[in-house]
């Protein structure tokens, strides 16, 4: 596998205005993510995980330094360009699923495709494939309220994956799930990662997730405390 660089942060710093002064949520972050990575960002609450993912996802801009996503400098993008980047190349998975309650599984997964120039037939194929890959074909017509938490998160994965993005950003995807569902979710993502070479970047403090990671970045007080390659499971698989 070639080491094509997909995301690169250089001296990334993020301040938030708090009261009169400012709070530094990220300080001097230098990280490189390559195509096909399966990486977790871990660290205590408030260490800056969500902030980092938001900046990589072009939902937030860095205060200092630069972030390059797929060759584009995030700090220089207009709202329109950022939206376009997200629309074509990024997928998001949330802790709270955030499925649209009034739409069916099929419609929720189809949603991201409506912004792309695809024919109805192309959309249908992509949706069915994505739903199939998370094993939810029998629930195609269900509404989120009729699904379990694990199933909801699998729909969210299908939604993130349906347009075959280069990067999937997942902020604590298993925080609301029990052990069994967490494993199931991670295995699903792992499968998709291998199949499509999609780069996965998680934030988590869930030990069950950590054992799946092939790279673990530890944040502490907004700084990179540790950047470890190759998780245990990964080595087992290779061995």
């Amino acid at each position: 596998m070639d080491k094509q660089i997909i995301v690169q942060t250089k001296r990334l710093t993020k301040h938030f205005p708090v009261g009169g002064g400012q709070f530094t949520a990220l300080r001097d972050i230098n990280l490189t993510f390559s195509k096909g990575e399966f990486t977790g960002v871990v660290g205590p609450s408030g260490s800056g995980k969500t902030t980092l993912l938001n900046i990589i996802g072009s939902l937030d801009a860095p205060s200092e330094g630069s972030v390059t996503v797929l060759g584009k400098p995030v700090e220089a993008l207009t709202h329109k360009q950022a939206a376009d980047l997200r629309c074509r190349h990024l997928g998001f998975i949330f802790q709270t699923y955030n499925l649209l309650p009034v739409y069916t599984v099929y419609e929720n997964v189809e949603f991201p495709l409506l912004l792309l120039d695809l024919s109805a037939k192309e959309r249908e194929e992509a949706v069915l494939q994505a739903v199939e890959s998370v094993g939810l074909m029998p629930k195609l017509k269900s509404r989120p309220a009729q699904l379990s938490g694990g199933e909801c998160q699998r729909v969210a994965i299908a939604r993130a994956m349906v347009k075959k993005p280069a990067i999937v950003l997942a902020d604590e995807p298993t925080a609301n799930l029990d052990a069994e569902n967490s494993h199931h979710i991670l295995q699903t993502m792992e499968k998709l990662n291998t199949k499509f070479q999609t780069t996965f970047i998680f934030s988590t403090h869930d030990d069950k997730v950590i054992q799946y990671l092939r790279r673990k970045i530890t944040l502490e007080d907004g700084e990179v405390a540790e950047d470890q390659e190759a998780g245990i499971r990964d080595q087992e698989e290779e061995g």
């Binding site: 939206a83 980047l85 709270t96 739409y103 991201p112």
Partner: protein
């Protein structure tokens, strides 16, 4: 995408059904209120014009100053030529003479002695000349309770209430005692041929309607008119035109300080109607203004809650790369659809009671017993073109404005902040 959004709108009742209902209720109330106030106000203006003020009224200056006392000694002389001149100058108006007088109605017994006496408010109008419009203007034919219209000189109508009080009916002879223009005693024998109820408390208490020529003869008022009333040909009072004509006529009077000099007044200058007219003119604006504000607040609150609920959707849509402007536009479009639907429903719902009130009205006669206001005791709504249009103002304005305001939240917040609100 549009189809997708419509689907969502229809399925999410808190976004479609509830706002549509709120709008419909508000619009229905607006429609009802507008038609009601419109009905009451135009009735008030019409009653005043027909029974009392005309659209314009010419009297002497002194008469105008003491009008309530019916000072017929101050009447206009040479009423015939005066009417002809005005009629020629203002062909769009129709001029009529009237005389009001106070007197005593004396009902004799079989021996010719006084059996019963009561004060009457007499009204002399042109009842008998062919083509006279006065009977219609006062809606007399439809107001007759017993008997018939006067058909020849000497025949009069009295109000039904007075007739009951005096225990008389059609066919009864009666004598009216009054005073002539020159201050001497006047006495005239009439035959009561019918009783009337106008539905206006001020008229129904003790009115007597006689032919103008009879009254002139009785009061020694040949070729005079206490009041010369002008009516626009279509029966609608037009304030601006009336005021202009009044100014024109009054400017042409050569001896304006003489107390017998003629003076013209528009409807608005009489019976304190100016305020009413101004109010009537602004009422539509006032009503729609009030409802725009009230509904905007309700919808805004509703929108706020709906908006909070929708931050989830908005966050997701931003995450999948939809432009903020696109989201904002789609929300506005949604609000137009909701506003339009609610408005149409509201107009339909509001017109039902409005129509009922137009046809049947509400009888407030009991409350009006002592009133001297020229207003019908049955209050009715009046549906006009404006009734249909007025609903759109609060209906559309409040939804679109409410959404436009709530939607700015998309722009005010950082994208990541909108996003965080998902994660609660």
């Amino acid at each position: 995408m549009i189809r997708f959004l419509i689907k969502g709108l229809l399925r999410d009742r808190s976004r479609s059904l509830f706002p549509v209902m709120v709008v419909a209720i508000g619009v229905a109330l607006t429609v009802l209120l507008q038609s009601w106030i419109n009905g009451v106000m135009s009735d008030m203006i019409r009653s005043n014009a027909n029974y009392s003020t005309g659209h314009i009224k010419l009297t002497t200056r002194a008469y105008a100053a003491n009008e309530e006392q019916n000072p017929n000694d101050l009447a206009l002389l040479d009423a015939g030529p005066l009417t002809d001149r005005l009629q020629k100058k203002y062909p769009g108006l129709h001029f009529v003479s009237r005389i009001r007088f106070g007197g005593l109605l004396d009902i004799p017994d079989e021996q010719g002695e006084t059996r019963e006496q009561a004060p009457v408010a007499g009204l002399g109008i042109d009842l008998l000349s062919p083509g006279s419009t006065e009977a219609d203007r006062l809606n007399i034919r439809k107001s007759i309770i017993r008997g018939r219209m006067p058909e020849k000189p000497g025949e009069v109508l009295v109000s039904e209430d007075l007739a009951r009080k005096l225990a008389v009916g059609p066919g009864r002879a009666a004598t009216v005692l009054g005073s002539t223009m020159y201050g001497s005693m006047a006495m005239h024998n009439f035959t009561i041929v019918g009783t009337v109820r106008f539905g206006i408390a001020a008229m129904d208490r003790g009115a007597m309607v006689a032919d103008l020529d009879d009254v002139r003869r009785m009061l020694d008022m040949e070729d005079t008119a206490a009041e010369l009333l002008g009516y626009f040909d279509d029966g609608q009072y037009r304030d601006t035109a009336a005021v202009r004509i009044v100014a024109e006529v009054n400017a042409a009077v050569d001896n304006p300080t003489d107390e017998f000099a003629p003076v013209m007044r528009a409807l608005r200058d009489q019976n304190d109607l100016a305020e009413y007219l101004d109010l009537a003119k602004n009422m539509t604006r006032i009503i729609s203004g009030v409802f725009v504000v009230a509904m905007s607040i309700v919808l805004w609150n509703l929108g706020l809650i709906a908006g909070l609920r929708r931050y989830g959707e908005i966050g997701v849509r931003l995450a999948i790369g939809e432009q903020k402007g696109h989201i904002y536009c789609s929300m506005l479009l949604e609000s137009v659809a909701v506003g339009l639907l609610g408005t149409l429903a509201g107009i339909a719902v509001g017109l039902i009671p409005a129509w009922y009130l137009q046809e049947y009205g509400v009888d407030i006669g009991a409350m009006m017993d002592n009133s001297s206001m020229m207003i019908s005791s049955v209050m009715r709504a009046q549906i006009t073109v404006q009734t249909f249009l007025i609903g759109f103002v609060p209906g559309l304005l409040s939804t679109v404005l409410g959404t436009a305001l709530a939607g700015t939240g998309i722009y005010r917040r950082q994208t990541s902040q909108l996003f965080k609100e998902l994660e609660v």
